[in-house]
Subunit: 515 residues, 2 copies
């Protein structure tokens, strides 16, 4: 005998089977593993020199932490603290002793255990863009992000296998009061997808709610402390400062057992000296200080070393993303993270373009390739980023998903065996023939290669007949088709109810505005 | 006392100084050197297995050479030849003995000796696209290539420092009789630029003219035999065949001392079995057979191992370029070339897009990155390629030049020294400050980073005020500005005259049509 719920989920499964899946949904879910040695741009003596410079910075120049409790934590741990100046100097031995407590890798649980991801080693996990105030799409143009956009983007992330992690801050839901946003975002990521998630780390109140919501989904606060269930970005407000929200977020989540992605935000020439050596030395000092703090709060808690260093534009002073200098800094950061035995975070799709054009694509590739080559473990902004991170574009999201999928395919092992060398077929067809119709070809015709989702390989006549669409226009059709056929993954009824109740209660409790 | 000629060239130099140079012209001329170990996707036992398979193919399956003289050359060298079937079987010891005679690197002379390039080792030399029947630009759309297009593209290559080599076949001048094209192209590359050149290798007559024209420029046939002055592509007509034109071209240029780029043209699933292992094994057999032939003709003549293997599209059977499988084949090919101690040729900007859009860019990057990572020495099609190689796009050319320039910049050494670590500046500015106006920044503000030529980093307001141009539209403005300000490099008057006379005479001598 089957229950009503079981029959319902069976019907849904049948419907999913029945409808034609888009090529993008048919892509395999997998975590990229790069079996090759990491590409390294620094010599060992250069790593050492950068390390020494960072040690000089934390010991002699010091770092601001704009939060009284955090200053007390540093003081208790043995650092030199000026509470009035909110400034901390950290002895290098203390710093390195703390950094060494962090694990080299960890597994992030997902609501669907089949989608758990291991962060570390030669695994590369792809995460969507985050923190964009605006969204854009070809129907409605560029506009402030809304909760509906967050929900739709979470649905798309869920539907696109190449993206491993759901980012709750994929855009800022500006139609929701600031202090309620994390509640709505939390509800979206846990109910609309079953992939691992990333959360915001903005001050004590937000963090406490996010921990509580995750605890509802994953079996309680003690349970999620044992094995982490979300990651969160901490940005240093470079140069040399962690602000109140970030310091509190770092302490809250570390204590709650969740991995932080400690990432200085440096544009060389603005937030650091203009030379890339200085930018990376400063990044390293700031990142290590934040990482050490996580280990005071909760020794052994997973933490990711984040690199986001790039340069300003020489002509305008604007941020420059997808640059050769930024690529170099990614590689250098990965090498430093490895030097300290920490997982590394980079960025996959940064660019400064205002539209989904060739520039958006080639600048993004200037980020994507370095992440994979350097064994970057956590690739933020791998899908959707446009206009220096001001915009999450629905069309760029789809284009980026294809680029990530192609990279995942490149790193799948290629079989070299008598079967695939097919010398008998080469002999049988001989000179001047063709292999289109052979049994060897036909047996593999559906599956042998990456099947493109966005790229159009038709001849110009057929492409013209189809309306002369460029990649952005085709991507537009794809995300609309995906959303039209979206179905939420199953969720335990009791969990869903508890989550909804929690959010309803906190909506009433929290002020609608917040200074 | 200065002569009239000297004063004229001084005036020209002053004019060049006076006019504002575009960012693209201001980029440095350089040859990319990758100091990192090459990225390798094959294990040693896999290299060995591919090698063994290729040996099996040349020994037991054999290869067509559709030219009687070439068959005689093979026969005299000791290969088993069936003259009627125009088929050759080559013993592996004979083959490898010949392949080993080829040098690991060589220097290609340019008309301007400062632009000579060394091909081999960890040098990567970038060459424009070649062999496209059509051109396109935003003024005149897609159309058959003409001599004027060849001339304009040669001018642009000359003006864009990142492109190292001028390709005479950058497009097919379809307004010129087939048998006169090489003459006009030869005149264009030697008079409109002073960079190293690549030539066509189509049968004995064309090759003889190309050798004679190069001899006029570089001091005679004996002189160019001592040090090569142009390279030329030889394509195997895969599977397992060299046609008459290619066989004759290979023999002529080898004897004339010029390096050939021996490149099987394989789309897995059409010209080889569908499995990439088979495609690369077959590529290797075909390439080595062609390379061995160059060494019979002229032992020690430089030759480049060319890889161009990619796959067909599963949905349409069309060629697929810029694919993960094609990238894997590039890496595998480079590793095989290194195994044999030969310079390697890959492709930089292959794509199947019909327009200069995100697809054109991300597929191109799926080629460009592997070339640099694998120590590819000769990167064909690095600028201009569109629509599976049917079109050379003026706008794509400019976009590609920026991508190549960014890659060259990434591989420039980054100085890590007390001066660039700038710890005193980090201390002076301290937490929360900014480095915009420091003496350290101002001293480096003009030169520290790659200065973008195509990418627009302006804020959305300024970008809107400038007309909302995408990368292709900006590229359009750039090439028009370049051509408007083009000035030919100086050429010796006597050489210019001899070259012009030679072409005039051969125009009269050669038939206007040719079967």
């Amino acid at each position: 005998m089957t229950t009503a719920t079981e029959r319902g989920s069976e019907r849904r499964a049948n419907r999913r089977q029945a409808r034609k899946r888009t090529p993008i949904e048919s892509l395999p879910w997998r975590v990229l593993k790069n079996p090759n040695p990491p590409v390294q741009f620094l010599r060992e003596d250069q790593v050492q020199l950068l390390h020494e410079s960072s040690m000089h910075i934390v010991e002699n120049i010091g770092i601001d932490f704009l939060d009284a409790d955090t200053l007390d934590i540093w003081s208790a741990a043995g650092a030199k603290v000026d509470k009035k100046a909110q400034h901390v100097w950290i002895d290098r031995h203390l710093l390195m002793e703390l950094v060494r407590k962090a694990p080299a890798q960890f597994t992030l649980r997902a609501r669907d255990p089949g989608k758990n991801v291991t962060v570390g080693g030669n695994n590369t996990v792809f995460v969507s863009t985050s923190g964009t105030p605006f969204v854009s799409d070809y129907d409605n143009g560029r506009r402030p992000g809304t909760l509906a956009d967050v929900q739709n983007l979470v649905r798309l992330i869920h539907q696109c296998p190449p993206i491993n992690v759901v980012e709750s801050q994929v855009t800022e839901p500006q139609d929701i009061p600031v202090m309620h946003r994390h509640l709505e975002r939390g509800l979206a990521i846990f109910t609309l997808s079953d992939k691992p998630v990333a959360q915001a780390a903005h001050g004590n109140v937000v963090c406490e709610d996010c921990l509580n919501m995750a605890a509802i989904v994953f079996g309680g606060r003690e349970e999620i402390k044992k094995q982490p269930v979300f990651a969160a970005i901490i940005n240093a407000n470079s140069p040399l400062r962690y602000d109140t929200n970030m310091a509190q977020g770092l302490v809250s989540y570390s204590r709650g057992g969740q991995p932080l992605v400690v990432t200085p935000f440096i544009l060389a020439g603005a937030m650091s000296p203009i030379t890339m050596a200085a930018a990376v030395a400063q990044q390293n000092a700031e990142a290590l200080a934040g990482i050490a703090l996580t280990q005071i709060c909760n020794p052994g808690v997973p933490v990711i070393y984040g690199g986001f260093t790039t340069n300003i534009d020489l002509a305008t002073g604007s941020p420059a993303f997808g640059t050769p200098e930024g690529a170099w800094a990614f590689f250098a950061g990965a090498q430093l993270a490895r030097f300290y035995g920490l997982p590394y975070r980079g960025s996959g799709g940064l660019n400064t373009s205002k539209v989904v054009d060739a520039q958006a694509a080639y600048e993004s590739q200037m980020c994507l390739w370095p992440t994979v080559l350097s064994h970057t473990n956590w690739v933020q902004h791998a899908a959707g980023w446009l206009e220096s991170g001001l915009v999450c574009s629905f069309e760029k999201f789809i284009v980026d998903v294809e680029c990530v999928a192609m990279m995942q395919q490149l790193y799948e092992p290629v079989e070299i065996s008598p079967e695939t060398l097919a010398l008998d077929m080469i002999k049988e067809i001989g000179p001047g023939g063709h292999h289109f119709g052979t049994s060897h070809t036909l047996a593999r015709y559906q599956t042998e290669f990456y099947r493109t989702a966005v790229a159009d390989r038709l001849a110009i006549g057929q492409w013209t007949d189809n309306g002369k669409l460029d990649a952005g226009q085709r991507a537009h059709g794809i995300w609309k088709e995906l959303l039209a056929s979206y179905e939420p993954p199953p969720i335990d009824v009791a969990i869903n109810e508890e989550l909804t109740d929690y959010v309803a209660r906190r909506r009433r409790e929290l002020p609608v505005s917040f200074v």
